[in-house]
């Protein structure tokens, strides 16, 4: 690798001779004569250039009278002007609708969109700021084809599931996030208002430059910076919103509950409960969901300052964000303060330095979410309606009927004190040397350090009427309080060195070379402790040393882990005459996570594009731009755990010795090490087309890809001769194929401006191998059936639902006798399960695939209007063809509430063909995993509607204000879905194998919001 670089360095040094210089100056305006600030002025074929100042003025040295100046400005058409003998120029630029000249951030560089031969999607700051969002991932939802984003929970600050081009592995499928060149885990620290652009590298050719980390896509986030010669701007942005639930589940009233309880007792041969002898007297009862949901505020204030001199740029911002939850209110609140300082300075003609630093202090209050055991939601959905929220004396009531997990949800929230505080610094400093014309060397050192502490307090409480008698069930009292403290530190650093060279030969051959190295080190340490019995029951007094119990009852624990990455990479871009573009990249990654026998991975890629519309034969009246592109590449997924290659010696393999049979420790490692362990490899081929019609008003991008994951990590069962558990090995594979289409129409010529856009993504996912023997993986255990819901096996998509199929209800004993045998207790009114193999016995062999949590396609659409200061934006987002397994009803418990659909139960021959009889004990296992609980999860959501008004510029000029905009918006205004649960947007939980299972997911809020943007 070294030699070619030296050679071309030499060649470029030879070229970097001295030029005869003359100065040209001028002024750049738009068609209304307003000065354009920050227009790039370049001398064609050289690296010389400048940009226009606040008055639109520029001054540039040109080598000769033959020189041609190129003026480029985002949103305007490029203009080339031959200098000739002129020393002063008046330049007017025309607006364009075209996006092909926009500059797109790619890995370790930036490229003009027209010259990109890979598949890269961009999300602009305008699109990001349209939605009031907490986490940056939310901005990706519905905005780009090929990126599927699902909110895992509506709880503020909760992580999202992001999948670039399908689920690439049964392990960790999250993309790599790079913020200003720094790889980061988790985006909750980042203030979305600070973001300038997000670029998603989707195909392997684009992401191969990230090698072993790029397999599941790369999300490049660039934060705002100032521009040279830019007048200082002060920007204030603020909004306030109110969140509330948009849907409630229909559950039984107390009267209905009592009626069904009586029936269920009788069916089981048990005497009904005496207090339910007159159900009508119980009336409506408690609406637990109504009691659970609250309206919750969300607020954001941001002030930012940007600008630049002829040598420096700066961008400084501060933000306060606060969001409470619609379940739990401040018990689920997320609060964040961020400060960001980005700046650059030209120290010497040949040296630029800069820094990007972001500081975040966040607090998140944790409420149990997404499980069937302890969440307030599952409790509210299952708590009987007979029990009141509070007793007559005002204290919380407890249920006489509900079992273990289902306790009073309102009290449970009250008793939750779980606070996570984290301080995070993500920052870098860099220096950029211009070594010769077109040749730069950049070195950046960055740090990502997080210091987080968590405090959990379990207060004393007792819902019993009489604390002495303690008659409340175990879940409704805690007689001894306790405190837990956890500390986490993450310390990561990265040092990157990149050499770039750009050279144009004979005006038509444009070369870009990039080569560099990275060293990255991650370290995580945790420690914590706990103790019981505090004299004070006030959460503010909850410290371990405040406990009464002796020090010997304290528990303490701690540990650490680390990883390191060392990489070398290079890329060559070549464009011929703006007609043919070719790009080749290569990366070599050495990682401590890989086994000793596979310490380094090698990731090549190749892509090519043909800009057909730049050919001489092209008659571009209708289609003004057409590019065909193809790419191929390989990259890796290194999210395989830090030490999977080795094995830890397990103690506790005991035996007893001695006359008193003393248990004596034995130690052995129970899993084999795998020194061959390596990354998961993705090989992806992509075919794409980019097209613009009607002078850029209409643009279209389409991509088809085949993405094969091989070497997927899986502990495939091994011959038992091994004597140990199967080592994790690179044995499995998955294939994703997909089609992505994006269309936009923009008309900005008239006073009434509008744009309409949409994107749609189809993905097909299939497991192609699970290694030797191919034993399937079962996952997604749900408590209501006490069984796994998903099965992953060769030939099927990852994590498809697997279970029995219902075939109506047994109406008579004769039907039971004649039907396939289910079990001894099957009776009329029970579900008839389908005898798939025709052996007349319903057993595990009659389970089949009953649903797929992956959508057939996902889509997004936006419509924006602008007229005389008014703007209206509508953003839709949806998912089609995905199934949801509804596990929110705890059928494993006898006395819990049920959805109103149970009112259609079977009560005698001919009364129901779908809803089985009620019975205390469910002897037929009607609640087993079956298609009875699989629902269509498709939805279309009006994600955002925003109406704004900007005061006219003429008025604002008087107060020296550039912009003053007021707006109102509604988020999640409408959701169209057949799903009966609280929210159809259900992501993956516990990894890729458990997607689309509703365990009482925290639903998303509907938000009404008003805001103001001021720039001056």
């Amino acid at each position: 690798m070294r030699k070619p670089i030296l050679l071309f360095l030499l060649s470029c040094l030879l070229q970097a001779g001295l030029f005869a210089q003359t100065a040209v100056s001028g002024r750049i305006t738009d068609k209304n004569g307003e000065p354009l600030i920050g227009v790039t002025v370049a001398v064609k074929g050289t690296n010389t250039g400048t940009s226009s100042d606040v008055a639109g003025r520029f001054k540039v040295q040109v080598p000769s009278a033959d020189a041609v100046l190129v003026f480029a400005y985002t949103g305007y058409q490029n203009k080339e002007v031959a200098v000739g003998n002129a020393t002063s120029l008046e330049i007017q630029l025309d607006e364009t609708a075209s996006l092909i000249n926009e500059v797109v951030v790619v890995g370790y560089g930036a490229q003009k969109r027209s010259n990109i031969s890979g598949a890269v999607s961009t999300i602009t700051s305008e699109e990001i700021s349209e939605l009031p969002i907490l986490r940056t991932e939310q901005a990706l939802q519905g905005r780009t084809a090929g990126v599927q984003v699902t909110q895992n929970s509506g709880s503020p600050g909760s992580a999202l599931t992001v999948r670039v081009r399908g689920t690439g592995t049964i392990n960790n499928s999250d993309p790599l996030y790079i913020v200003d060149g720094i790889p980061v885990d988790g985006l909750d620290f980042l203030n979305p208002n600070d973001i300038e652009s997000i670029n998603v590298l989707k195909d392997a050719a684009s992401s191969a430059i990230y090698g072993a980390r790029g397999a599941n896509g790369v999300v490049l986030i660039t934060t705002r910076s100032g521009k040279r010669n830019q007048e200082g701007k002060i920007r204030y942005e603020s909004y306030f919103g109110v969140q509330s639930t948009w849907k409630k589940a229909n559950l039984l009233s107390a009267e209905q509950y009592a009626i069904l309880s009586n029936e269920a007792h009788i069916a089981a041969g048990v005497k009904p409960l005496p207090e339910f002898s007159n159900p009508a007297a119980l009336g409506q009862g408690t609406d637990w969901l109504d009691a659970l949901f609250t309206t919750a505020p969300m607020t954001s204030h941001q002030i930012s300052l940007t600008g630049g001199s002829d040598k420096s740029t700066y961008s400084i911002s501060g933000n306060y964000f606060n969001q409470e939850g619609i379940v739990g209110g401040d018990k689920a609140a997320f609060q964040r303060y961020t400060v960001r300082v980005n700046g650059t300075h030209e120290v010497k003609k040949w040296l630029n330095i800069g820094t990007n630093v972001g500081l975040t202090a966040l607090t998140r209050n944790g409420l149990a979410e997404n499980n069937e055991f302890t969440t307030p939601l599952v409790r509210a959905l299952n708590m009987d309606p007979v029990t009141p929220i509070r007793k007559a004396d005002g204290t919380f009531a407890y249920s006489r009927y509900s079992d273990t997990d289902i306790t009073n949800p309102i009290n449970a929230i009250e008793q939750t004190h779980d606070r996570w505080r984290s301080n995070r610094l993500v920052g870098s400093v860099f220096g950029e040397l211009t070594l010769a014309q077109g040749l730069t060397f950049r070195s950046a050192y960055s740090v990502d350090a997080t210091f987080a502490s968590q405090g959990i307090f379990f207060p004393r409480f007792d819902l019993s009427n009489d604390p002495v008698l303690s008659d409340a069930p175990a879940g409704e009292k805690r007689l001894i309080n306790s405190v837990v403290k956890n500390d986490n530190t993450w310390r990561n650093w990265q040092w990157e060195n990149v050499l770039s060279y750009q050279k144009t030969f004979a005006e038509t051959h444009v070369f870009n070379f990039t080569a560099g190295t990275t060293a990255l080190y991650n370290f995580h340490e945790y420690s914590g402790g706990a103790n019981t019995n505090l004299p004070s029951n006030d959460p503010d007094d909850a410290y371990i040393s405040n406990t009464i119990d002796p020090i010997t009852t304290q528990s303490a624990y701690g540990g650490a882990d680390e990883s390191a990455l060392n990489s070398y990479f290079g890329r060559v871009n070549y464009a011929y005459d703006d007609r043919y573009v070719v790009s080749a990249a290569f990366r070599m990654d050495g990682s401590s996570r890989f086994g000793a026998n596979n310490r380094f991975g090698y990731f090549p890629s190749l892509s090519a594009g043909w800009i057909v519309s730049h050919e001489g034969f092209w008659k571009g009246d209708l289609i003004n731009f057409l590019k065909l592109r193809a790419s191929w590449g390989q990259n890796g997924n290194d999210k395989i755990g830090n030490y999977s290659f080795t094995t830890v010696v397990n103690s506790g393999q005991n035996y007893t010795f001695g006359p008193n049979q003393t248990i004596t420790n034995g130690s052995v490692s129970l899993r084999a090490a795998n020194p061959d362990l390596k990354w998961e490899t993705i090989t992806q081929t992509d075919f794409g087309v980019d097209m613009e019609l009607l002078q850029g008003r209409f643009n279209f991008t389409g991509d088809y890809y085949i993405k094969n994951t091989s070497d997927m990590l899986y502990a495939a069962p091994v011959p038992l001769t091994a004597g140990t558990e199967a080592p994790v090995r690179n044995v499995a594979s998955v294939k994703n194929t997909g089609l992505e289409l994006a269309l936009n129409y923009r008309n900005r010529d008239r006073a009434f401006k509008y744009s309409v856009g949409g994107n749609i993504s189809f993905v097909k996912n299939e497991v192609t191998s699970l290694g030797n023997g191919g034993e399937p993986v079962f996952a997604g255990r749900v408590q209501s059936a006490n069984a796994s819901v998903t099965k992953t096996e060769v030939g099927q998509p990852i994590g498809a639902f697997f279970g029995y199929v219902t075939d109506g209800i047994f109406q008579t004993q004769q039907e039971v006798n004649e039907g396939p045998f289910q079990n001894e207790a099957t009776a009329p009114g029970d579900i008839r399960f389908k005898d798939q193999n025709g052996d007349k016995i319903i057993d595990e062999n009659d389970q089949v695939y009953i649903g797929n949590p992956a959508p057939k396609f996902t889509y997004g659409a936006n419509i924006d209007f602008e007229y005389k200061g008014f703007d209206l934006g509508i953003f839709l987002q949806g998912s089609q063809g995905n199934d949801i397994y509804n596990a929110t009803v705890r059928y494993d418990f006898t006395y819990v509430n049920r959805p109103v659909s149970v009112l259609n139960r079977w009560t005698g021959a001919g009364t129901s063909e779908s809803e089985p009889r009620v019975n205390l004990s469910d002897p037929n296992q009607n609640a087993r995993v079956s298609n009875r609980f699989v629902e269509d999860g498709s939805y279309l959501r009006v994600k955002n509607v925003q109406l704004g008004y900007s005061l006219p510029a003429s008025l604002l000029k008087k107060v020296k204000c550039d912009k003053f905009r007021l707006y109102v918006s509604a988020q999640n205004l409408f959701t169209f879905t057949k799903y009966t649960g609280l929210d159809p947007e259900i992501g993956a939980y516990n990894g890729a194998l458990e997607a689309g299972i509703d365990r009482g997911f925290y639903p998303q809020a509907r938000v009404w919001l008003g805001g103001v943007n001021v720039i001056f």
Partner: protein, 503 residues
């Protein structure tokens, strides 16, 4: 910028990270010992051999593979039992020699044996490099050789030739094919010889080491191995070394052997330790120290057991062969009307709808002996008496008879009978027969003395009597003397492992 600066810069960019890369990328776990940094001292060595001992306790991995499944149920001594034909139906199919090749039970046997072998191999590979007391190291290696031999002994007697995993297998070696039975026997023999040479006598161990493998245990298993190999002369010699060591003595009252007090008694040669005091669970590789045998063999219904291993009429009749009832029957079989310890009297009505005439008694435990907390079922406390001194004496008698030393044979045999008859001189007179009659007397004695201790089926196969005795049940010599290799293992190795003939 001049060229020299550039070159320096390039050197910096490209070389600096490389210079430190070797250490930079080498990251071992910071918490917990990895294999590389365990095995440092005597304590680690002891812990590693203890883990191999733990494998001796495996009975459900995750399906059952009790020694009495193969030794007793497969023979004419007992039937499967349980809650009917569907309860562990595979066991019924195996017992009637219908030969299913895909049973969880045999797969579990295979798995547990190889887990034990892996653990012993780990000791044999890791411990020699540890800098520690040489005597202790030699002992630990001797224990590991025995444990490896024991699991290969189980494999070769159940399956015949098996993959000879005589070291910790690398993932690339997992598809190891089967070795011949002779090769496996050779390894068992050589491991046991090393073990005999390295291990101390029972009396030389500290009291706190009670339960560890002794020289006597290794010698006894070696005698058994030599009998399988029909090496009569050496078998007799080594059996006599055990006798001559004066380490073992028959307990006076046969009925005491299978009581709690009878654990690790003077005639205990090789005994797998189980206890009832830990919170056990039903998982594989469980950390509990208890046995499942107690609950599996106890009668159902009021006795809270699963009712497996039901003695046959033919087995009970063996105890009456000499005219009167052999007193050992009382300690071996529950009959209707017997008190089942503190759990009540055995009546047909009390067994929960499974009115069998006989239940196995040797691994019966009283309610008062159950685990004080947790699930008692996986926490049975009866030690598994694998080799008792009377077995050694009977093996000696058998070998001596083959060697023509009939006096020596009769002497050993009559020692066992003498203890059985106790004070009652009217029964079980000394055997005076010779030739085949003497051999038959030894065989009879084995059946009644060692009944329901997991020996019978293997004794029949080993002595060539299986076709005669079990033929009526479906046994075919040349097929059923070995159980089928688990089908899953043939598939998992892509047919590198071949099935036994006849299956």
């Amino acid at each position: 910028m001049k060229f020299s600066k550039l070159a320096m810069l390039l050197a910096l960019v490209l070389c600096l990270p490389i210079a430190c890369q070797k250490d930079f990328l080498d990251r071992k776990p910071l918490v917990g010992a990895s294999e590389e940094n365990f095995y440092r001292n005597a304590e680690d060595a002891v812990a590693s051999v203890n883990a191999a001992y733990a494998a001796l306790q495996f009975e459900i991995s995750p399906a059952g593979h009790f020694r009495w499944f193969w030794g007793d149920i497969m023979s004419d001594d007992s039937n499967k039992g349980g809650s009917g034909d569907n309860d562990a139906n595979e066991l019924l199919q195996l017992e009637t020699f219908k030969g299913p090749t895909n049973t969880d039970l045999l797969e579990a046997e295979w798995l547990a044996d190889y887990e034990g072998i892996y653990r012993a191999n780990t000791v044999l590979e890791r411990v020699p490099a540890i800098n520690m007391d040489a005597t202790l190291k030699a002992r630990i290696l001797g224990e590991a050789y025995f444990i490896r031999a024991w699991f290969f002994y189980n494999l070769v007697t159940v399956f015949g030739g098996v993959p000879l995993a005589d070291h910790v297998l690398a993932p690339s070696e997992y598809n190891l094919p089967r070795a011949s039975a002779d090769e496996v026997w050779a390894l068992v023999e050589s491991d046991l010889r090393k073990s005999v040479a390295a291990l101390p006598l029972r009396s030389q161990y500290a009291a706190s080491d009670l339960g560890r493998i002794t020289k006597g245990a290794a010698q006894a298993l070696l005698v058994k191995t030599l009998l399988w190999e029909k090496k009569w002369s050496e078998a007799q010699t080594i059996a006599e070394e055990i006798v001559g060591s004066n380490e073992y003595q028959l307990v006076s009252n046969y009925a005491d052997i299978f009581t709690q007090a009878g654990e690790n008694n003077t005639e205990s040669v090789f005994e797998i330790q189980y206890m009832n005091a830990s919170g056990g669970n039903w998982g594989k590789n469980n950390a509990n120290e208890g046995s499942f045998t107690n609950v599996f063999q106890r009668a159902r219904g009021a006795f809270g057991g699963f009712g497996f291993n039901l003695p046959t009429d033919d087995f009970v009749a063996e105890f009456f062969k000499e005219g009167s009832e052999d007193p050992r029957l009382k300690s071996t079989v529950f009959r209707v009307g017997d008190a089942m310890g503190d759990r009540g009297v055995f009546t047909l009505d009390a067994t929960g709808g499974f009115p069998h005439k006989y239940y196995a008694k040797k691994y019966f435990n009283n309610r008062s002996e159950e685990a004080p907390f947790g699930d008692p079922n996986p926490n049975g406390d009866s030690n598994d008496r694998v080799i008792r001194y009377s077995d050694v004496l009977l093996m000696h008698a058998e070998a001596a008879q083959h060697n023509g030393n009939e006096n020596a044979a009769r002497q050993s045999l009559n020692l066992v009978r003498k203890r059985a008859r106790g004070a009652n001189n009217a029964i079980l007179p000394d055997v005076t027969a010779s030739g085949t009659a003497l051999l038959d007397a030894v065989y009879h004695e084995r059946r009644v003395e060692l009944g329901l201790e997991g020996h019978r089926f293997f004794d029949l196969v080993r002595t060539g009597r299986a076709q005669t005795v079990l033929g009526a049940l479906g046994y075919v010599e040349g097929v059923h003397n070995m159980f089928p290799v688990p089908l899953s293992q043939i598939q998992a190795t892509n047919n590198a492992i071949k099935q036994n003939p006849g299956y």
